[in-house]
Amino acid sequence: MKACETLGIQLERVCGEKATCGKCKVRVEEGFHQEIYSSQKHLSPMVEEEREFFSQHSDLTGYRLACLARVMGDVVIFVPEDSRLTKHIAWKGLTERFVSLLPVVRKYYVEVPPFGREGVGREGARADFESLVSEITTRFALSDLRADHYVLRALPSLLRETEGKVTVTVWMNKEIVKIEPGYWDVNLGVAIDVGTTSIAAYLCDLVNGQTLAAEVMSNPQIRFGEDVISRISYAILAPNGLEELQIIVIDGLNTLLSQVTKQAGFQPKDISDVCIVGNTCMHHFLLGLTPYGLSRAPYRAVVQRALDIKARELGLDLSPSVYAYFLPTVASFVGADAVGVMLAMEPNLEAETVLTIDLGTNGELILSGEGRLLCTSCACGPAFEGGQVSSGMRATAGAIEKVRIDPDTLEVKFQVVGSPSWSDGQRKTNAKGICGSGIIDVVAEMLRAGIIHADGRFDSSISSPRLRQTAQGTSVFVIAWAHETALDRDITISNSDVRAIQLAKAAVYAGASVLLRKVGKTLPDKVLLAGSFGTSLDVDSCRTIGLFPGCDEVYAVGNAAGNGARLCLLNREKRLEAESMVQKVEHLELAKEKEFSRIFLEALSLGQYKPLASTKGSMKDL
């Protein structure tokens, strides 16, 4: 794996080098290749875990797992397309909404007298900074302005070159964070949502409130494990692990910032404000705070309140004195991203009961209604993001994101990320796997078509070329035939894939039910689905598999966390709102809720909730 990376080929590393996902498989070419004698024997012998993996994947002979195999001699390695870490192109739209413009940074154009054409005047003996401040305070309603030494260092030459004509960026009415030559009224801010799986950035014009550009990338930390716990383990156990994780995510952000500004014809140095949301773990990694407390009971974060940090201290390549604002967090597993979601959904506690679900590896649930605001996290696992699913992948190029199955013929058609047309059973597509929204579609459609039963079992009485038995006696259903894909094999859904979805959806369902019970309800009036699934998520499919307690009004709202960050960028009062919201919100720990397990077990069945006809209420004991 190190060798591949040195050569500039990034490999998938979904399981964080635990030899379970097999996504980093590579093939060793045997024999001479351009004067290199390559052989399997030039790699370290297989260790126990690797042998275990390949014993379950007999179709992969000749392959090795790059995370375990060490290079001992000359080898020529073939890296299959699906082993490569590709660029993220998940949905990145952002629903536009109304908000009054009141950014924390404002621009003021001034002409500082001593540097003007009239030459040295009455105040000639004053220091540069004092002259500047005096000019600003007399012309605008500002007082007590300060600046850090980065601003001071740049000040003298700027004033002399421009004859005192500069545009000053003032933060919070009290600090000069940037001085630009001449009249420059472009005021840009960037909202960033750092997710476990992907990072999104939105470039906003703080003069008119518009979003100028948006970019998404996959979180480069994924190499260290798919879920936060794996990354926390790395941060704690590996020497300099935390530092490494911080550097890698900041590097990623710098790339993203230059892309998003470039898209709109600007540069990172044009940015004057940054707002960041992310789950508590990503928040800690960005700040270089130890995640130790997050990893074990009683799950204690280092800091909860909102933070203003100089962007340069984080290592962001922006104008050096600019601030980055971190939204506050609620708890170890209900982070600033959830606070962003709460802001964006503008809960009206007295109106209807609204359940908001932010789906990801760690699902966050927010319930508002009956005068209360509640939240919790449910560790549903990576299945909704393509993890723990045999053909699963993230929503990148080549991911099947929509699936339909004809209930009569059992014929399948699918759509791949980035291409608007349905497959036709013949044409070759660039399909390489299935992402979360596609997997939810598959399970829902298989249920509708009767291929699986509500208990998740494959119907053995169905005969179709698409349904086949593996050597181990389990079943798989073919979604895409080999000739329709970019791989040389069928893309299938197995019995255990369905089981993984059942576990994940039961966790979400049970978490939501527990919240609803707290406000004395069984069903919500409205459900909002947030998350990187974005618009491709099929609301009906979610309803069909029974992802949440039944309800007619269901909306997919896209990246609500990013939207919350954007609101904080546009309006400083939203920051205060966020800060008071974390005081008000009641955080529920599902681990302490007695009824969670029972509901979880009952909710394992697919479809709309029916309490199981258990013999003597055995589920109650669990």
């Binding site: 635990k18 379970t20 126990e48 208990d455 389990t474 009952e602 394992l604 013999t615």
Partner: protein, 208 residues
């Protein structure tokens, strides 16, 4: 008896009880009902689970039915005939509160004729040691679902060694994040990926 087995596998507790009572009334051998009936049924449940045919809820209901049948048959067995496959102490390790998997392992073990002492969740090494001292089980089972709590299993094994209890007790481990390789590194006697395999594993270790 075939009907009884069928009823257990399908999780139909009432029918299983009816069939058991009918078999007993017809003079069936109670011991036979247990070993070739209930235990056979649970073996089938395990096999069908592994094949993907049954899932957690169905397995729980089947185990529950098996338990009820056992309760009916037990009074017909003499003291020394009551089959005890062995004694198992089980718990979820310190820092971890995931117990659904552990509870299923417990149910399956009980349905398989084991006597199980369940310590609950978030159990520190000292408490495992104390329970082993008190109950002298054949097997100690530990469950962990978090990558960060897995290491607590090693701490418990170390504590057992210190208390000189390691040789008299087999240690088995499980839970979603645990692998057989990990079980090997910490010096456990066995690992099982699911509750059905856990029963087989414990049987194996107890018969040695």
């Amino acid at each position: 008896m075939r009907e009884m087995i069928q009823a257990i596998v399908e999780g139909d507790g009432d029918k299983a009880l009816q069939e058991t009572e009918r078999a007993l009334a017809q003079g069936a051998n109670p011991l036979d009902l247990v070993s070739n009936g209930v235990l056979a049924a649970m073996d089938e449940v395990g096999a069908r689970w592994r094949q993907g045919d049954l899932f957690i809820p169905e397995v729980i209901i089947a185990a529950e039915a098996a338990k009820e049948v056992m309760a009916v048959v037990k009074p017909h067995l003499s003291e020394d005939e009551v089959p005890t496959a062995g004694k198992v102490v089980i718990g979820t390790v310190k820092g971890d509160i995931h117990d659904i998997g552990k509870n299923i392992v417990k149910m399956m073990l009980e349905a398989g004729g084991f006597q199980v002492f369940d310590l609950g969740v978030d159990i520190p090494p000292e408490d495992f040691v104390e329970a082993v001292t008190r109950w002298k089980p054949d097997v100690l089972g530990m469950s962990a679902l978090l990558t960060v709590t897995m290491l607590a299993m090693r701490d418990t094994i170390d504590a057992l060694e210190k208390a000189e209890l390691r040789d008299s007790t087999k240690v088995v481990v499980g839970g979603a994040c645990v692998t057989s390789a990990f079980a090997g590194t910490i010096g456990a006697d066995g690992y099982a990926a699911d509750a059905a395999s856990a029963v087989d594993l414990c049987r194996q270790l107890c018969s040695r």
